[in-house]
């Protein structure tokens, strides 16, 4: 029998419902694995919540014993440390929140708890979700389970690496410009950013409010659909959350891996462009050929404003973050450095100066500048206009197509430290994911091959609120390929060879 930790949610469901295992056993198997492996391998976790997890697992077992059937009841999971958890330290990857314990749960944390999931812990991330490698964590970098000398991507690198290392069947991340899809691609797992507003942001520590969106990391598309069923839907506490009805995503997957009649757009700007690694390009082209073999109709299109995506993003997101991070001032819950005789401004400067890392400061400065009197029109306002143009690019394509496909990231996982001295090179990692975020569209990354033994992700972008369509295409691809069964060396490392 395979290890409990290698199962998908769907498989665990069967085991739990048949009472072959208890939720406590499932939780302990994952906790044991995290505790045995994490520190010496990927460093995915910032906080492991064993006691809390065991209590939740016992409660899940009681609900199971009472005959309750619920899709995620007793299923363990990990949350990116940017989602607030009552009484459990929530750092957003920053020293400035090193000892912050929220007094309430966020909406999604609460919904998942009600669904019966078991929180194993909080995952590492780039500080305040700013980064593409998780090297900007205020604590330590996370490593890629496929190659410990390489980055897992970011900013949700901890969640991606955790799922890729079999620490949990699912984890949640957040995506502002690619922070779910890019690490999913680099860690060889499924990562989904829903439509902006589909999943409540209440309890998500804000980076860029008009872009941030919570979404799942899983090892299969079916699991992704199951998690989406639990987290999608309107929340009165988030005024930007959408009122639209939520379909049953799992049912929408369909049973046949057929894409007959599905029209897929291939943006010229996503192929044959400088900076895309040949291995990635080859894998993605092969994946697209496979999609065609499933019956999809392909068409080349143009998303002409793609080239402005990164520049636009690096005005809008920093502008919003410059305001969102203003509350960490050393006066309230955050790190506070107060020396005798220090003025208020001294406290602000010292606390923020020492609490924030370089990338966060860089973006606060960028954003503050972009919003400043005399520069607003030239930068922030112009960026918002370009954002509209980027959205219109997609609108035009969706008049004739059901989805857009292309690479998730221009490259596979790169070595630790390779891009830390070159912010622009780091930013270009998100070239293909940023436009989707700016347009607020749903986008998924699914494993689509290996290049030099490292995972490549295929990105599928859908119309606003058409998560079901995106998941169906991804599912058809996945079920007719073997890429999702490729496991990282850490995932395949059995626990008893390490510890016992």
């Amino acid at each position: 029998m395979p290890a409990l930790t290698s199962h998908s949610i769907a498989e665990l469901r069967a085991l739990l419902d048949h009472r072959d295992v208890s939720a406590v056993e499932v939780a302990r198997a994952h906790l044991d694995r995290i505790e045995a492996l994490d520190d010496s391998t990927v460093n995915a976790m910032l906080t492991v919540t064993r006691e809390h997890a065991e209590a939740q697992a016992r409660a899940a077992d009681a609900r199971l014993a009472a005959g309750e059937a619920a899709p995620l009841l007793g299923v363990p999971m990990i949350l990116k440390d940017v989602m607030i958890t009552r009484g459990i330290r929530t750092t957003a990857g920053s020293k400035i929140l090193e000892n912050f314990r929220p007094i309430e749960d966020g909406t999604i944390t609460r919904r998942l708890a009600e669904a019966g999931t078991v929180l194993l812990g909080k995952s590492n991330m780039d500080e305040f979700a700013m980064g593409s490698s998780t090297e900007n964590s205020g604590f330590f970098p996370t490593r890629n389970p496929w190659d410990l000398e390489r980055v897992p991507g970011g900013s949700s690198g901890g969640s991606a690496a955790a799922v890729g290392a079999d620490f949990a069947p699912f984890a949640l991340g957040t995506d502002t410009g690619g922070s779910i899809r890019q690490p999913a691609a680099l860690c060889g797992v499924v990562g989904f950013k829903p439509t902006y507003g589909r999943v409540s942001r209440y309890g998500l520590i804000a980076f860029a409010s008009s872009l941030d969106q919570i979404g799942p990391f899983t090892r299969t598309v079916e699991d992704c659909a199951l998690v989406m069923n639990a987290i999608a839907g309107h929340d009165a506490c988030d005024s930007t959350s959408l009122q639209a009805p939520v379909p049953d995503y799992r049912r929408a997957l369909g049973s046949e891996p057929s894409l007959k009649g599905v029209r897929l757009a291939l943006p010229r700007e996503y192929f044959d462009v400088q900076g895309v690694e040949p291995g990635v390009e080859a894998a993605v082209k092969a994946a697209i050929a496979h999609l065609e073999s499933l019956g999809a109709e392909l068409g080349e299109v143009s998303l002409p404003h793609t080239k402005y995506g990164v520049a636009t993003y690096y005005l809008v997101a920093p502008a919003e973050c410059s305001a969102n991070l203003a509350r960490y001032d050393g006066v309230k819950y955050s790190l506070s450095i107060r020396e005798p005789g220090a003025s208020l401004w001294d406290v602000y400067e010292r606390s923020r100066g020492e609490g924030f890392g370089r990338e966060v400061k860089r973006r606060i400065i960028l954003g503050t500048y972009a919003l400043s009197s005399g520069y607003y029109d030239a930068y922030y306002l112009k960026a918002q206009k370009v954002r509209t143009l980027i959205k219109q690019d997609f609108d035009r394509v969706f008049e004739d197509f059901d989805a857009v496909v292309g690479p998730t990231s221009p490259n596979v996982a790169f070595p630790l430290g390779a891009k830390t001295q070159d912010p622009l090179a780091m930013y270009l990692n998100d070239l293909f994911t940023i436009p989707t975020s700016l347009a607020g569209l749903p986008g998924i990354s699914v494993p689509a091959g290996l290049a030099d033994g490292l995972p490549v992700g295929l990105q599928i972008i859908g119309k606003a609120l058409d998560e079901a369509g995106v998941l169906r295409i991804a599912h058809a691809f996945e079920q007719s390929t073997q890429w999702h069964t490729e496991r990282s060396p850490i995932a395949t490392r059995a626990l008893d060879t390490v510890e016992r």
């Binding site: 966020g106 209440y202 309890g203 005024s239 502008a319 919003e320 305001a323 509350r327 001032d329």
Partner: protein, 508 residues
């Protein structure tokens, strides 16, 4: 105040009497015209705060007891717009004849301060809920329209208390709905500024959107004031004055500023653009911040809140809910009750007085008498009374009827009113219980009159010698002896009768 009707030039002769303790000795302010604009912050009387569910009844509560993660700006929280606050603002807009744009949004106003939990205030920048509008004011029988620039909605900040060794912050007020009403620089005197504020308060109270009590901080006001030579079209450099916590403070601060600026201009100095603070106990303004230190607030659209679309149907519904406003009420009082302009204005701008007036008249009292009583005796009692004491209109009407019927005289009525006010008991019962009914029975009064005449031989002699006004003194003595109960008419008749009986001697 002595502002010449129709001319909006400041009257300096009145000025020096109210600005007692000033460094500025005097200045000839008649050479200048004051240009004044008011920026008012109105705390809305909603049940919950602007963006969270916290109750708004924090007055008198210990610090930081009416707070939640949202109004504390904790990481991860999001605001939700209070619909009642939006409606209160729209109602205010309708009441001041303003334009209500079809689309509006919230913006973030960025500045760091410990009383501002998020480091930004959710406010409105370029698309306020309400644009334009006007308020009519009457000063010295001249009625003028004062235009407004805009009315917008925002959240209040917390409150800092500076103590030795550090500062304390109370977030009970943080996130309270605050309506900012900005006038155009249409006001020309401190008296007009005060009238504007009073009319504004009347409108807000009539709408029920705010308690608008300046002492409680529900209505706060900053003023902008500049001077220019009379006849000059170009505006002078404006100075903003903050920290004005009463109508009196607004008026005094403006009076002070006008003299200060006039003196500076007379001395050939330039007025620097700055923010000054009013120091109540010294009666002066002091410089707080120059223009160079002004903030760049870096406004940008609040991404956590969707725009608000104000549909015509919504506005129509709110328009139907509009109560009768002070100006309409004033016109009605003049038309239907025959009140003069002064009485009508005073009553119509005071929600409490207006209600009492109408109810008292409704209970059968004469309108002019009721108006008179309410503005004098009742107003004095109300100023001195503690909260919760109410005067029933029926009781006031009854009191006036007792006077009309001759049961009691005016002086007894004045004597009885405080008891009615304090106890809530009916005047008739009090009059009967205390035996205050007016004595009109000549038989009963004659003995008293005779005693008074006996005790005052000199005035009696005066009267008889032809100095007829001496009767007034004697009448007063009789009234006093009867503790005000004697019917003055009957007393006078009796006095005349007895005094004219020549040769009659009075003895004790």
């Amino acid at each position: 105040m002595g502002v010449p009707p129709g001319v909006h030039i400041f009257d300096s002769s009145k000025l020096m009497t109210t600005t007692a303790e000033t460094r500025v000795q005097s200045a000839d302010t008649t050479r200048y015209e004051a240009v004044i604009g008011l920026e008012c912050h109105v705390q809305l009387a909603t049940r919950s705060k602007m963006f969270c569910g916290c109750p708004t009844d924090y007055a008198g509560s210990p610090p930081n007891t009416h707070v939640c993660p949202i109004c504390l700006g904790m990481p991860g929280v999001l605001p939700v717009i209070n619909r009642a606050a939006v409606e209160s603002t729209l109602m205010t807009g309708l009441a001041i004849h303003a334009t209500i744009p079809a689309a509006t949004k919230f913006d973030r106003k960025n500045y760091p301060y410990p009383d501002l939990v998020k480091g930004y205030q959710i406010s409105q920048y370029d698309l306020p809920l309400v644009k334009g509008g006007w308020i009519e004011i009457s000063v010295d029988n001249t009625t003028r329209r004062i235009n407004l620039e805009r009315v917008h909605l925002e959240e209040d900040t917390g409150k800092l208390t500076h103590a030795p060794g550090g500062s304390l912050v109370d977030f009970n007020r943080a996130g309270m709905p605050l309506m900012e009403m900005v006038s155009q620089p249409d006001l020309r005197s401190p008296a007009e500024a005060r009238a504007y504020l009073q009319k504004l308060r009347a409108i807000l109270r009539t709408l029920g959107v705010s308690g608008a009590d300046m002492e409680k901080g529900q209505l706060r006001c900053d003023v902008n004031v500049s001077l220019r030579p009379v006849g000059e079209a170009k505006l002078g450099t404006k100075v903003e004055v903050k920290n004005l916590n009463s109508f009196r403070a607004v008026q005094r601060a403006l009076e002070y500023e006008i003299v200060r600026q006039a003196a500076a201009l007379d001395a050939g100095e330039k007025i620097p653009q700055e923010t000054r603070g009013w120091v109540e106990d010294r009666g002066v303004t002091v410089s707080q911040r120059s223009k160079e230190e002004a903030h760049d607030y870096r406004y940008f659209p609040e991404p956590d809140l969707p725009p608000i679309f104000v549909e015509e149907a919504w506005l129509a519904r709110l328009r139907e809910q509009l109560p009768e406003l002070p100006d309409a009420r004033r016109a009605r009082y003049m038309r239907d009750f025959g009140l003069g302009a002064y009485d009508a204005e005073a009553l119509s701008t005071d929600q409490w007085a207006a209600r009492l007036f109408e109810d008292t008249v409704g209970a059968g009292a004469d309108a002019k008498k009721a108006a008179n009583w309410i503005q004098n005796d009742v107003a004095r009692l109300r100023d001195a009374a503690s909260d919760g004491q109410v005067l029933e209109a029926g009781h006031l009407a009854e009191l006036l009827k007792l006077v009309d019927d001759g049961v009691i005289g005016i002086s007894v009525a004045r004597q009885v009113l405080p008891t009615v006010y304090a106890t809530g008991r009916a005047p008739r019962a009090i009059v009967e219980e205390q035996g205050l009914g007016q004595v009109s029975d000549t038989g009963a009064l004659e003995q008293t009159v005779r005693s008074v005449l006996a005790a005052n031989p000199a005035p009696v002699a005066d009267y008889r010698a032809g100095k007829l006004t001496a009767i007034n003194f004697l009448k007063g003595q009789v009234m006093k002896a009867s503790r005000g109960k004697a019917n003055p008419g009957v007393v006078e008749e009796l006095l005349k009768q007895l005094l004219e009986q020549t040769g009659t001697q009075f003895s004790n």
